[in-house]
């Protein structure tokens, strides 16, 4: 009999403690952010999709070596390049040299897992993370990012 009433009282007490906690929380300020109206600044190191880095003259730093392409676990990166000849002054003499120029850098964001292997593998610091996260579309073609184009758009 004692145990019976004891349990009822203990139960009632525990319920009142719970009610007390939620009542206190009722008057606490709201902690959420009303998302589309207000956004939080992404942290410094946030890993979004990749972007090309430009040099001083506004051209991509990329030398089209293809390291990122090989490092990518999901084969999301495809790039193309062409050789151009250019003249450079070596020891007072003009010489013709060849170098590779990036013509296409496509990131297939649908398969990208945002691991950052491409950024790490790049020896020239030519690829970096963007801070974009509001990415939504009904068409998957919208996520085949042409990074070279994006770079040009950024500059213009």
């Amino acid at each position: 009999m004692g145990a019976y009433f004891n349990e009822i009282f203990r139960g009632l007490q525990s319920l009142c403690i719970g009610l007390g906690i939620t009542f206190k929380e009722f008057f606490q300020p709201v902690v959420t952010v009303p998302y589309p109206y207000k956004t939080i600044k992404m942290s410094e190191r946030y890993r979004g999709h990749t972007e090309l880095v430009e040099d001083e003259s506004g051209n991509p730093k990329c030398v089209a070596c293809g390291m990122c392409q090989r490092a990518c676990p999901s084969q999301s990166i495809s790039l193309a390049s062409k050789s151009v000849e250019y003249e450079v002054e070596v020891k007072g003499e003009m010489k013709t040299k060849k170098k590779k120029v990036l013509t296409k850098y496509e990131l297939n964001f649908t398969t990208c897992s945002l691991c950052g292997q491409c950024v790490e593998s790049c020896n020239f610091g030519a690829v970096t993370f963007s801070k974009d996260y509001n990415l939504a579309s009904f068409r998957k073609e919208d996520f085949h990012f042409d990074l070279l184009n994006r770079l040009k758009e950024r500059n213009s």
Binding site: I8, L15, G18, L19, I21, T22, F23, E25, F26, F27, Q28, P29, V30, V31, T32, P34
Partner: protein
């Protein structure tokens, strides 16, 4: 004759309007309240403070297609939501909001409300059975056993009150408590020392009768998906929802009339409908507050609570009060 008919129609329209408005805005209140308890704002986009959310929800529900599952019993499936909503509205007719405001005063008001309340269980049974869904059937069986076992302690408690007042009329019960908080039924008196306990029992039973958390076994979403209304969409679901909230208002009104002095002021000043509304909304807030604090009970835990704790105690209270009423 025609005046009586007109009166009745006006009363029913007002009752429906009150029930519908309450149901719509209690959903809003519930979501806002739950939001605040959980440290988030709740619906706040449609209109100021999200006040246009209920009309928006209503339009959405009404414009959606009414889907009847292929294997369902069509008639039962269609009738169940109406049966959930109708008794709730009917019960409003006999509830006195103050000594003047009552749609139809009856000398057996208490009996009528309980008769209609037991129809609610029927609606849930039909909904679960008619939709031919295994989750629905399991939920409706649960809900019915729950409703039956909680009507017993509830009625025993009501009998105690009726014995003290000597009337089955809700208006008489409320007027007998007029004058101040010391006259209310919840306050223990010489002839009825266990009334606070009776209040707790009745409060628990109204939670269980309205299928509110922590007793919402009929729609236990984590095990039975959505329980008896798994297959319902559009306004069928909307009617269940409105019925649930109308039942909550009736539960709160009954508690107010039976225990908290109806429209009387705690100090005996300015009795009126405002006190009644204040009391029922405080009670409804506590319903919401409880829902968002506790986990759900089990079905056997729920039945154990009813048969092993609530019924013995309420019976003891009944006998004690009967004896003491004879003595004093």
């Amino acid at each position: 004759m025609s005046l009586t008919v007109l009166n009745a129609i006006i009363a029913v329209v007002i009752a429906i309007g009150f029930a519908a408005l309450n149901a719509a805005y209690l959903v809003w209140a519930e979501r806002r309240g739950a939001g605040r308890i959980q440290r988030r704002p709740g619906p706040n986009v449609n209109g100021p403070l999200g006040l246009l959310q209920p009309p928006a929800d209503g339009i959405k529900l009404m414009t959606k297609q009414l889907v009847i599952p292929g294997g369902a019993d069509k008639a039962l499936f269609m009738v169940a939501p109406v049966l959930a909503m109708a008794p709730a509205i009917m019960s409003f007719v006999t509830i006195p909001f103050s000594d003047m405001i009552v749609a139809h005063s009856m000398n057996i008001g208490v009996l009528m409300i309980f008769a209609f309340a037991s129809l609610g269980g029927m609606a849930i049974l039909l909904a679960g059975w008619g939709s031919r869904n295994k989750y629905g059937v399991m939920a409706s069986v649960r809900a019915v056993s729950q409703n039956i076992s909680y009507e017993v302690p509830m009625l025993i408690t009501v009998i105690t009150i009726v014995m003290m007042t000597g009337s089955l009329d809700l208006k008489d019960i409320a007027t007998s408590q007029a004058g101040g908080i010391w006259n209310w039924n919840i306050v223990p008196s010489l002839s009825a020392p266990l009334m606070p306990v009776a209040f707790l029992i009745f409060f628990t039973c109204s939670l269980a009768e309205t299928n509110r958390a922590p007793f919402d076994l009929g729609e236990a979403e984590s095990e039975l998906v959505a329980g008896f209304h798994t297959e319902y969409g559009s306004m069928g679901f909307g009617l269940f929802f409105m019925g649930e909230y109308a039942n909550i208002v009736i539960g709160a009104s009954l508690i107010t009339i039976l225990f908290l002095g109806g429209w009387g002021c705690p100090l005996g000043l300015f009795p009126g409908v405002w006190w009644f509304l204040l009391k029922i909304y405080v009670l409804i807030f506590s319903f919401i507050w409880i829902r968002w604090t506790f986990p759900r009970t089990t079905i056997y835990g729920l039945l154990n609570l009813s048969w092993k704790i609530l019924i013995p105690i309420s019976l003891f209270n009944l006998l004690l009060t009967a004896g003491l009423l004879k003595v004093f």
